[in-house]
């Protein structure tokens, strides 16, 4: 019974649930304890052991249903209803037994022994190395090989013998076996198709690597989901790395002066110790994110990234702008990712951008957020449709903030061409860099967080 579970864990891994070796062992230990009898209990136990977040729980549900749904672990009522009117006395008929003796498959079907059937199916699948499957056109070929390995030929012979005997009981059994034979074929096909999906997922890893380097502007629609997973993972990684930095700064030494002073009452015996604590400077981050039409394809990734950052860091203020600027901190904190992105894009997305006005509004309403501990992160292409650029606002940010980082999705050569105001803003940015790949985003933000 271990084989299907191993398979399931592999599928779960590919679906993005992180299942460590230790967790696999735990899963087996739990199942050894609980047994494989009850589907819901098995599901509960596996969920307890391997699914760690809401997201993973959701994926787990989908995976579990997909993987165990039709493998026959669950009693499938559909096939039972019509054709399984097999009577016990028929199955146990001595003559029938003798005729079907050559086929172990027939024996399993007659005894309705699903567990053995599934086990044998998996064994057969392993024997013909179904996991080598690469193309969907190979499905039929592999399914046939599995059936051959399973002993479908012997079953066919047995059915033929039963039909030839002319005995009504044996004929009934033959009918029954024939209908079940169809079900077995479907099971075999199913296994092959699942393995195909699995190997396709393994290729997905390579795609992840590719996506990291892909330009954010032309990510395929089908890859967007995958991309989101990557962005979230990245934000989480940054957050943990950042947490570690904070921790290092926290470790103290004995504060001798303070200790002595505190212990004057005890004759200077260091009775209560006090420790030096370095002040932890939390980076305050103010993010201004352009969501106008020109960067719309990128905007959702930027928002996604800002959302993930908001989850990871405690002091992030985020703003979105096109021709006007709005505070989206609360939206991003409260709503789920998709809802908040939709809400923001509906409110101000896809308009033509007006950097001057947006920056002017920022100066008016929110400039007080900027102090010398703040890092300002501006994500945008600086294309202002020939309106006034308000360079003075960026200058003010530059003077007040610790750092101004401008991430521009356009290549450096395009900066300053046509309506791009980038070159005017450039002198007032501590860092200004091209950012249109995930890798860029990660390394830049890493730098921002790491600087003390």
């Amino acid at each position: 019974m271990k084989e299907p579970i191993v398979g399931f864990l592999a599928v779960a891994r590919n679906a993005g649930i992180s299942v460590s070796t230790a967790e696999s062992l735990d899963a087996f230990a739990a199942l050894d304890l609980i047994g494989y009898g009850d589907r819901e209990t098995v599901k509960d136990s596996l969920r307890l052991v391997i699914a760690k977040t809401d997201e993973e729980r959701e994926r787990f549900e989908a995976c579990f249903e997909q993987y165990f749904g039709s493998l026959g672990l669950a009693p499938d009522s559909s096939s039972d209803a019509a054709d399984s009117s097999l009577r016990d006395e028929d199955a146990n008929d001595a003559a029938v037994r003798q005729t079907t003796a050559g086929s172990s498959l027939a024996g399993m079907l007659l005894a309705d022994d699903r567990a053995s059937l599934v086990r044998n199916l998996h064994a057969a699948a392993a024997a013909v190395s179904v996991s080598d499957i690469r193309l969907f056109t190979q499905t039929n070929l592999f399914a046939r090989r599995v059936l051959e390995e399973l002993g479908i030929a012997a079953l066919d012979e047995a059915i033929a013998r039963l039909r030839a005997s002319g005995d009504p009981a044996q004929a009934r059994v033959a009918e029954f076996l024939d209908s079940r034979r169809q079900a077995v074929r479907e099971l075999a096909r199913d296994i092959v198709e699942k393995r195909l999906a699995l190997s396709a997922d393994q290729r997905g890893r390579m795609r992840d690597e590719f996506l990291r380097d892909a330009r954010l502007f032309n990510v395929d629609r089908r890859d967007i989901e995958r991309m989101r997973v990557l962005v979230r993972a990245m934000a989480r990684r940054l957050a943990t790395r950042y947490a570690r930095i904070r921790k290092r700064a926290r470790r103290g030494h004995l504060d001798v002066r303070h200790t002595m002073r505190k212990n004057v009452a005890f004759d200077g015996v260091p009775f209560r110790t006090s420790w030096k604590r370095r002040k932890i400077e939390k980076p305050r981050l103010v993010v201004l994110c352009d969501v106008s039409g020109s960067v719309a394809p990128l905007a959702q990734f930027l928002l996604l990234f800002v959302h993930s950052l908001t989850e990871a860091l405690s002091d992030v203020h985020s703003f979105a702008f096109s021709n006007t600027m709005i505070d989206v901190t609360a939206t991003l904190e409260r709503a789920t990712l998709d809802d908040s992105i939709v809400a923001i894009m509906q409110e101000i997305g896809f308009r033509s951008s007006d950097y001057g006005r947006a920056l002017g509004e920022f100066e008016q309403n929110w400039l007080r957020l900027i102090d010398r501990k703040t890092t300002v992160l501006i994500l945008g292409d600086a294309r202002s449709n020939y309106s006034e650029a308000r360079v003075d606002v960026v200058q003010k940010l530059f003077e007040r903030a610790k750092r101004v980082v401008w991430l521009n999705p356009e290549n450096r050569v395009a900066w300053g061409m046509d309506d791009s105001e980038m070159l005017h803003y450039l002198p007032y940015c501590h860092v200004a860099t091209v950012c249109n790949r995930l890798r860029h985003l990660e390394s830049i933000v890493n730098d921002v967080l790491a600087t003390p």
Partner: protein, 317 residues
């Protein structure tokens, strides 16, 4: 309590029953978690919204297994000296003062400084022995002769350092005290960690735990909970009340009502001799259920619609 031998749950059904006897109506998932935790000796990390009975689960488990419950509340700044052990500095100091003469006598025989130091080393070990060790919850849990249920409440409130420190404890059920060496549990405690998800816990900690997510119960389960926790409530009121709360949970509120608030509300209504929900009763008592002014307002607006639904459904056939 500890005279009766600790119970080993025989099956998941037994756990459900046992918890019910302790006044905790659990779903199958929670019972499975407890069952596995007991047999695999793995800690359980319980997550879910506030007030769905995460802490209660630990208490009921302790009562059911007849083990002492040792509770440790986590907070920002919690450290080893408060969680694990501390030396009784005061006592150490006092004893050294009292035993000054004795110490002097002991050292008098020493021929030179080196020898005196050598003798002093032996004495110091006396002062850093179990006698002067103040056991805090984690150490207490390890030293329980029959095992214990260790409740580490709101682990997400503690810092990451503390989380890292928990790792040794939760994987090997042993801790290391520099002066005494590793101390292993006599019987591994059943550790139950709760988290409200105010921050993401580290992967290392997550990997070591079983993950139980307790969500708001469905109507059926909630009715059973009310039935147990608020004896003497009329069936009709119970159905209506639970139906109403379930509806409130579908609204967009700042803080959704939890099970404990449903129980409070039910108690309040029983106390007021209410036998059927109507708009006035709801308006007057809604502040038991909802804790924010804005939420109360939002719910009040929706009350008539929700109420008519609930009363319709609550009617027998």
């Amino acid at each position: 309590m500890s005279t009766a031998a600790a119970i080993a749950p025989a099956s998941i059904e037994a756990v459900i029953e046992g918890l019910a006897e302790s006044g905790y109506i659990s779903n199958r998932q929670s019972a499975t978690a407890i069952y596995l935790a007991h047999h695999l000796r793995k800690p359980v990390l319980v997550e879910g919204p506030a007030g769905v009975g995460k802490t209660e689960l630990a208490k009921a488990t302790a009562a059911y297994l007849r083990l002492p419950l040792i509770r440790m509340q986590c907070y920002d700044g919690l450290d080893e000296s408060k969680a694990l052990y501390e030396w009784k500095y005061g006592k150490q100091l006092l004893y050294t003062q009292i035993l000054k003469d004795k110490l002097g006598e002991g050292l008098r025989g020493a021929a030179n400084l080196k020898e005196a130091l050598h003798q002093l080393d032996g004495i110091e070990d006396v002062f850093f022995s179990e006698r002067f060790l103040e056991a805090r919850p984690l150490l207490q849990a390890l030293r329980q002769p029959a095992g214990a249920v260790l409740l580490i409440d709101e682990v997400d409130k503690a810092d990451q350092e503390f989380e890292a420190f928990l790792l040794e404890l939760l994987s090997d059920y042993q801790v290391t005290i520099p002066e005494l060496g590793p101390i292993a549990a006599t019987v591994a405690p059943i550790a139950i960690l709760t988290s409200n998800n105010t921050r993401d816990l580290g992967d290392a900690l997550k990997r070591r735990c079983l993950h139980l997510h307790i969500d708001y119960p469905d109507a059926k389960l909630e009715e059973r909970i009310i039935d147990v926790r608020v004896p003497g409530i009329e069936e009709r009121l119970r159905t209506q009340l639970v139906g109403f709360v379930q509806k409130v949970r579908t609204l967009e509120l700042r803080k959704l009502p939890s099970v404990s608030e449903t129980i409070d509300w039910a108690r309040a209504l029983v106390l007021l001799h209410v036998d059927e929900l109507d708009a006035q009763v709801v308006r007057e008592t809604l502040n038991v259920l909802l804790k924010y002014e804005a939420d109360v307002e939002a719910a009040t607006r929706q009350t008539p619609a929700m109420l008519s639904d609930v009363r319709w459904n609550g009617r027998p056939n």
